[in-house]
Symmetry: C2
Subunit: 520 residues, 2 copies
């Protein structure tokens, strides 16, 4: 790492109640239960939660073996029928046949964001046939945060389950921040190259050029960025459609490109040079995340003409990208009331050949700044149930400031909830195992197991201990909600015992007579 003045420190060690295990080289978080059972969970946290791993942030994570740089993209290889090393890894990780992985990638219904130059990342897949994924945005701005903080946030976010990270830095040290993040990230990293390009014009959109942009993209491809948000769908004819909106254009990328188009009275250089851009991304197997530059920023603007006109353009671009062998996903809103959410998925699938949908929430109402991780988890769960493949988290700081460490965790946990709720609703084959294991632990008062199986064992235990901190309370057959005399779980056990007695009497009486049974 070039700059020795950067001295990040990150959280390491296993998640409470779990150990890191590997099955055929694929990491899992194994929860060891007190009843002798165990459950292996999908694990995004990389070597940081492996007790035996040596972490050296300055050296970066070790590269995974077997990265092939000269045989094209995962999409191209899937089309030829090849099951790549990454696909095999993903099949083990998701607990699905490798052929399903290959087929969904070949079909363009799933992507594997894995830049040849980012061998530190563990392969993962984004597609509606697989577990719903969560992205966490990090990154500094002109007024806030440092490189060390962002590296810490990256490790922290993946510890709690972020499947990818986007580095949205806009201030100083963009290249350096990204380098530290890439070399140490166990998950794919996405960016919006336009942000760094705009730094090169001192923030003036009108001064942007295709050449400046292209060089920035190549710089980031070389560094190892796995997917890039490209707002190539903002066209001249769309811009007037935003004028009567309540919140206009809220996407930074969208507003920058709209300003450029108006300044030059030309179609966006992202649109006019899109095929050259495809060739660059194909070279590194960088995945397109086609940005929704005109996404609604308020309930009032949801599903309007501007939003859907851009989506139609994204559909055209999807076909072009795929023709060039580039993997594509499509970004979605934003702010959408519940009854308008499903239409977004339907239209995206229709217009974009079912390319994976990647949405920001959406927020189901505008009225709760400081709680937008919740307003948007509602929308996120619903849109994921309808088929969205990856959810971009929203933190409590949305609309108010940049997220700190606590906000990052709160955002990730809220989105793991939304993603898992959708997995359950979609009937994902393994999802309910965890719910059932936790509920059995709950019913049997195995408190330690209940904590260990939860999304956040530390906070679950802390909340329990606020009222009943003593060690025996961890095995007591009651909790502070009802107290010992009053426990429905205990009474239910009595009911079960009584039913068993009755059943035995029934059997002993020849199974014909229904005898009254009295217990207390």
């Amino acid at each position: 790492m070039p700059d020795v003045s950067v001295d990040p420190s990150v959280t390491t060690g296993p998640i409470a109640g779990s150990t890191k295990i590997y099955r055929h080289g694929v990491p899992f978080r194994r929860v060891n239960l007190t009843n002798g059972e165990h459950l292996d969970l999908y694990d995004t946290s990389g070597p940081y939660t492996d007790d035996t791993a040596v972490i050296d942030l300055a050296a970066g994570l070790p590269a995974r073996p077997g990265v092939v740089r000269d045989r094209g993209t995962q999409l191209q290889r899937a089309r030829t029928g090849e099951v790549t090393a990454e696909m095999a890894f993903i099949a083990e990780r998701e607990g699905v046949p490798a052929e399903l992985v290959r087929h969904e990638v070949a079909r363009g219904r799933a992507v594997i964001p894995a830049n040849h130059n980012h061998p530190e990342a563990e392969p993962m897949i984004i597609g509606k046939a697989f577990a719903v994924k969560v992205n966490a945005n990090i990154g500094n701005s002109a007024v806030s945060s440092s490189v060390a903080e962002e590296v810490d946030k990256m490790v922290w976010a993946t510890r709690w389950g972020a499947d990818t990270i986007m580095d949205l830095s806009t201030g100083r040290d963009i290249h350096l921040t990204r380098e530290w993040i890439l070399r140490n990230s166990p998950v794919p990293v996405g960016t919006v190259p336009l942000y760094q390009t705009l730094e090169k014009t001192n923030g003036d959109p009108a001064e942007l050029t295709w050449e400046l942009y292209r060089d920035t993209v190549i710089e980031q491809c070389e560094q190892g960025v796995d997917y890039m948000t490209v707002h190539a769908g903002v066209l001249m004819r769309h811009i007037p459609l935003t004028v009567d909106r309540v919140t206009g254009i809220v996407s930074r990328g969208g507003s920058i490109m709209a300003a450029w188009c108006l300044a030059h009275h030309q179609e966006s250089f992202l649109y006019t040079n899109f095929e050259e851009l495809c060739d660059i991304l194909a070279r590194y197997d960088v995945t397109f995340s086609l940005g929704d530059g005109l996404r609604p920023g308020s309930i009032a603007d949801a599903n309007d003409a501007a939003q859907f006109a851009e989506l139609e353009t994204l559909g055209e671009l999807t076909k072009i990208a795929k023709a060039h062998g580039v993997q594509v996903m499509i970004e979605g809103p934003g702010h959408v009331p519940m009854h308008k959410i499903v239409e977004n998925v339907r239209l995206e699938e229709e217009l974009c050949e079912e390319a994976p949908f990647y949405t920001l929430g959406p927020l189901a109402t505008d009225i709760a700044p400081a709680y937008d991780h919740i307003t948007s988890a509602i929308g996120a769960a619903i849109i994921a149930q309808a088929g969205t493949a990856m959810l971009c988290y929203v933190t409590p700081k949305e609309h108010l400031g940049l997220p700190n460490r606590k906000d990052v965790k709160d955002g990730v946990i809220a989105y793991k909830i939304a993603a898992h709720a959708a997995d359950l609703a979609k009937g994902h084959p393994h999802a309910q195992l965890r719910d059932d294991a936790l509920s059995r632990a709950r019913f049997e008062f195995r408190w330690h197991d209940q904590f260990a199986l939860s999304l956040d064992p530390d906070t679950a235990r802390e909340f329990h201990d606020e009222t009943l901190p003593a060690a025996p309370a961890k095995t007591a057959h009651f909790c502070s909600m009802c107290g010992p005399k009053f426990c429905s779980m205990r009474i239910t056990q009595d009911v079960r015992d009584a039913m068993a007695d009755k059943s035995r009497e029934f059997t002993e009486s020849g199974g014909k007579v229904y005898l009254p049974v009295v217990t207390t």
Copy 2:
């Protein structure tokens, strides 16, 4: 108030950026905006947020005038065509015709929980044609909390928007706690009389009798409880249906009644004496909340035979109660995965003549103890969109302990989000006004207005100030997320200006030629 050793103190004063106003005697929270506009919001907080009110907790709130004790229940009076004082109040409060209120009550599709002996409360309505309501549970247990704390929580919960309160105390001082809450509560208060009855048998369900229960109900009716959860739907034949569940019977009331039935091998005294119970409740106009004693306590148990068998019995009881002129609502789950939620509403409406549905969440997954306000806000928003009239909040402490002050607020805010999201999705006529006002404030960088219009102005401001505490930042046309150079809102304004220029040029040129326009 009898016991002078109780010395509660509660939070008073207006919510930041708002003042209390009255329209035809009905309180509203008026948000005064910096652009000269204002928005009046539904206000549950009672006199505590009125700067001019004198609060004396020992004396209790003043009684509202015009309570009629001798003309039966709101249901009976609605059926005769009478628009009661309570209905007129509610019509003003909800911004709907009084005749709609009367009609929905007469039809049994809405209830007005207003015990004649609780004149301190401001009338409100629970029904699918009106704004979705939120209940907050408070109450101490054998191992936690005091009377003063519970009174404080009650005022705190209504400050943030709780439409009703349930006092679920199970420990010491049940009567006294309830007295303090009732005399000071601006919202209807619900209870589960079985809890206090069980205290009288020292916690032994088998020792419960109809007489003990009946006397407890009368005691609470006399005190002024507005609605009562009655688990009269747990029948002998339902109990075996719970035996193979993952989490058995999780409702306290349900497990107590199941234990009683098995101990006596008789049908529940709540079921066999239901008509007498109706006569008692009718006398005071106490509303039934028919409890779902067999609600699912885990994803695995959702929508199972036990749950729906009990719901069918609740349908029978609904008809009996209504025949006695008693108002009824129906309690619902619990834990339900998203794809099984809507079926709950459909079946409840079919079986229970569309009596208002009142659900606990439901939690959309079991795996996030410490975050169950979020898991359940997802389910709550969906079930409310489908027609649920009131949502019982779940706090972050659910499954782990009793909620403290912070948990109560977190739970209420999460549920106000769910309720409002559902109001938007249902097309409630006034709901989107607030979203639009807040989004306009956001777009125009009126930070003070954005805070004032939000569900929690204090926290929104605090989060903003973490990175930009200086006063000028409250009017600055940027925030810490993007910094000054990079603001999409500012760029959008430039885009609008450019569009306006273009439009002017177009007009000036005779409206025929499309001229290029260059701006920066």
